[in-house]
Amino acid sequence: MKRSLLLYFLILASGLILLIRLFQIQVIKAGDYNPILGAEVKFVFDDPERGYVYDRNGKLLVANQLSYDVMIIPNEVIPLDTLEFCRLLKIDKEDFKKRFQRAEDYAPYLPYPFLKQLSKEDYAYLQEKMHRFQGFYIQKRIIRDYPTKSAANVLGYISEVDQRITKNDDYYEQGDLIGKAGIEQQYEKVLRGKKGKKYLKRDRFNKITGSYMDGKIDSLAENGQDLTLTLDSELQQYGEYLMRGKRGGIVALEPSSGEILALITAPSYDPNDMVGRKRARNSTLLFHDSIHKPMFDRGLKAYYSPGSPFKLFNALVGLQEGVIDTHTSFYCYNGYQYGKRQHEFMGCHCGIYGKPIRLNTAIAKSCNSYFANTYKRIIEKNNNPSQGMNQWNQHIESFGLGNFLGYDLPQGKKGLIPDGSFYDKKNTFRWNASTNISNAIGQGEIITTPIQLANATAAIANRGHFYTPHIVKSINNIPITDSAYTVLKKTTIKRKFFEPVINGMEEVFKTGTGKYYPLKGIDICGKTGTVENFITVDGKKKQLVDHSILVAFAPKENPKIVLAVFIENGGYGSTFATPIASLMIEKYLKRNIERKWIENSMVKKDLYPYYLESLKPSTIETGTD
């Protein structure tokens, strides 16, 4: 009997070993196993449809279009009439072989795009014949479509998400599309909707064998929400049309709401160039164009000195601070002598020599001397330039200048409105208003962007307040309620001080620098600007033709539109910016252009030759090359 015990013992011991091991696998460590992450469950995303985008009048700006890819699963392909198939797909036999090989190399049992982005016509034709080619099928994909072909800078584009984002955001998978610029980026979460998740069972060859848990844990895709923009696409397109052959930006706002009516940057591009198969090639071209920089939104990001339009704000600050009133007059002798030395002189082109100039005329004629005096009074009001400067800075910044405005577009620049400490740091010596007298006429250290200037002008048009500019009017037809855009922001200037300045601006289009481009029946109030600018070519500072600038609003009472127009190297404010602004106002308020001749002359003017020329060091030096 003793001998028989060995096998009993071994069976018992082995049985126990197996049971313990099974207990360890199935009970103790059962939690280690997550079927969802395991190989036998695959989840696929059910892509939602991205939201549409409309302009303020309901015109479709961004839509989706279907694109059709011919997919292949090499394993499932049975011998086919290659010749006919090639003819249908419009490829040759060599190409067919190459594509087939590529798919097979990737994985014989996985779908692979055989031919991407068929045209709709090809698809319609092919669809009927597809059943004859086993192993091939057509996959629909959704890509963007921009029917108006304009406002690329506002709308932005979508492209494949990069790894930096997929790593940090669980929502995105490699290969997903994400908004990369404009509202596509800013309102990504609104537009994208929510992906649905489908869980599928698969076998070890990665082949789908059915739905997992009968779809109990699947979730449905939620389509993206539609956006209605504040943009007036007709105005936008017209502005883009006028800006042909020029560089610069136009920002048009509705002052009563802060809504952006048009945001034009030139040069720009057709947003459809950044869709689908063309995108890769075009984005290289567009992003690498370092001369014209079409991807650079000049309306939002370009730093320009505001120039003469800035005088308006100095006038307002002067009135508010009580250093001038409407009767205060200064004399101009073709300029203003701010220092004792000969060169410490600021020239002026107002043409009123030795006569007293009041505020109204000073604005209309853009008199440098008047505003230099005003500025000096503001800064040196308490005999403490630093304190005066801070005071001035506070007033100016209350117009939304010198800081990010907080509009709902992903790009922007801060700009600069200096304060006392700025000059305390910059200057080692004791400084006063004369040190930075250029600020009086919007040159000097002041830097603004077109949208900032447009917004500040809107504050003038509103007589002392503004709404933060924004581009989205409603989401899924529900007006936005974000307090950032619906709560009024006040400037530090009292309402009564605006009227004299606005009167001066009206004068600009009657008798002043904008007198050649009035609009019948509508009082335009504006201020032209001509801004000196320099570039550095081969290490040498070179002065270029001035930028042509204008800020304006119309009509005078109950203003409907505010504009800031910047034309790079356009010369006087009255040469380009004024007529363009005048036409924009006509377009927006009358919807119809009667002054075709102005339009024609504007569209015809091409500054590109000059832009290219300006990059050369100089005509003399080029000869030595």
């Binding site: 096998l7 009993y8 082995s14 091991r21 059962a30 196993y33 395991g38 036998e40």
Partner: protein, 424 residues
């Protein structure tokens, strides 16, 4: 002599029969689950594996009846003839065998294949029982030992040529021999050899040689210290022990590196964790373990094993059928199977011990040893305790030959078991 019993069910041990029915039935359910797809869910579709297996199960009923019908003495008398027939059939494979998966271990008759090695086990057990039950036979004699070794290893070698894994099972006959009086030294030596083999692979020749030499020295010094007569000043024996140990280690190393096929070597190394499994050699085992793990305590339910249906585990209806049990029935199912097997084995051993006839007892031991080795090697492999050895789980794995072979093996014992109640 008593009247021959005509009722074939007379004296049958229903416990064994009952467990057999449960195991075969449960086995079939798992084969059904493993081969089931949406398209072929029909039970009686003989183009599917579950359909075929059902056919094999139905056909095993006449085999059982026939086995029970034959007089128990017949097995004892003709045991050697059966053995010879199975040896002939194994030899015949070299000429007439059909190659399946690189192994020429099948006879093919049209669509049906027959694997003689599955039947050889039962007949070898009969032959061993026949030899050992001879009254004049004394296992302590080396001559007799060699005789029985030949009987055991002849079919084992013939099988090993095609399928090394299946041949390992024949080592389990040592349990039978041990029961019948063979010294335990064989099994201990075998165990030491296996341990040394694994240690050599794990730690390398030199380390192991040194440690083994130290161990032998310690053992010898202990013996000398204890003043045992064994080995005292017996220098030749002492040297032989040292040489034997070292020689074994070196031969293991040589065999391992030169004789064993590289894929088998890889399996060992992966199992022992010596190499990273870059070639995914452990794929089968990993998938099987994942599949079993996914079942958890209570399983996913019949036909709900999505990993089983995903066919992640290769050969899931044959050698890896146990993983299906694990996934769909959980720990509850797997432990039930193990416990049922252990009860069956205990039952066989108990009935064998109670047998008043030496032949029946030895055969019973053979049955238990074979089933035991199959169970432990198969389940051990599936749950990653043993290297991959492709042998079926008795009564469970898909395959007619395997099912009939084990049925024959068990029911001959059940028949012999009935005979013990009357003497002859």
């Amino acid at each position: 002599m008593r009247q021959e019993q005509t009722n074939i069910f007379f004296g049958i041990d229903w416990v064994m029969v009952f467990i057999y029915i449960i195991l075969v039935g449960f086995g079939w359910m798992n084969i059904y689950a493993a081969s089931f797809t949406e398209e072929n869910s029909a039970v009686l579709d003989f183009s599917t594996k579950h359909g075929k297996q059902l056919l094999w199960i139905i056909l095993s009923i006449p085999i059982i009846i026939f086995t029970l019908f034959i007089n128990g003495k017949f097995y004892e008398r003709f045991g050697s003839v059966f053995y010879l027939i199975s040896i002939m059939s194994l030899l015949g494979l070299f000429v007439l065998g059909t190659e399946v998966h690189g192994a020429k271990s099948w006879y093919r008759f049209g669509a049906v294949g027959l694997q003689p090695s599955e039947f050889a086990k039962a007949f070898t057990a009969l032959a061993v029982a026949k030899l050992l039950s001879d009254r004049k036979y004394n296992l302590e004699l080396i001559k007799n030992q060699i005789k029985v070794f030949i009987i055991i290893f002849l079919p084992a070698v013939l099988i090993a040529v095609h399928d090394a894994g299946s041949a390992i099972v024949y080592l389990s006959f040592f349990f039978v021999l041990n029961r019948e009086g063979l010294t335990l030294a064989y099994i201990i030596c075998g165990a030491i050899a296996v341990i040394l083999f694994i240690l050599t692979i794990l730690f390398g020749v030199q380390n192991l040689t040194i440690s083994v030499c130290i161990l032998i020295s310690l053992y010898l010094s202990y013996n000398i210290y204890k003043d045992k007569r064994f080995l005292r000043f017996h220098w030749i024996k002492m040297t032989l022990i040292y040489m034997g140990g070292v020689l074994f280690i070196y031969s293991v190393d040589y065999a391992y590196n030169n004789l064993i096929k590289s894929h088998q070597r890889d399996r060992f190394e992966v199992l022992l964790g010596l190499t990273d499994d870059t070639k995914n050699i452990g794929y089968n085992t990993n998938q099987a373990i994942q599949t079993i793990r996914s079942g958890g305590s209570f399983g996913k339910g019949f036909l709900k094993g999505n990993r089983t249906q995903g066919k992640f585990v290769p050969a899931q209806d044959t050698d890896y059928i146990f993983s299906t049990v694990g996934e769909e029935w959980g720990f509850l199912g797997t432990s039930l199977v193990i416990v049922l097997f252990v009860i069956l084995l205990f039952r066989i051993l108990k009935r064998a011990e109670q047998h008043n006839n030496k032949f029946g007892r030895i055969y019973g031991y053979g049955v238990a040893s074979i089933l035991f080795s199959h169970l432990f090697i198969n389940v051990g492999m599936v749950i990653g305790l043993l290297p991959t050895v492709g042998i079926p789980l008795p009564f469970f794995s898909y395959g007619g030959s395997s099912l009939w072979g084990f049925t024959l093996l068990l029911f001959i014992f059940i028949k012999l078991d009935t005979s013990k109640s009357y003497d002859w």
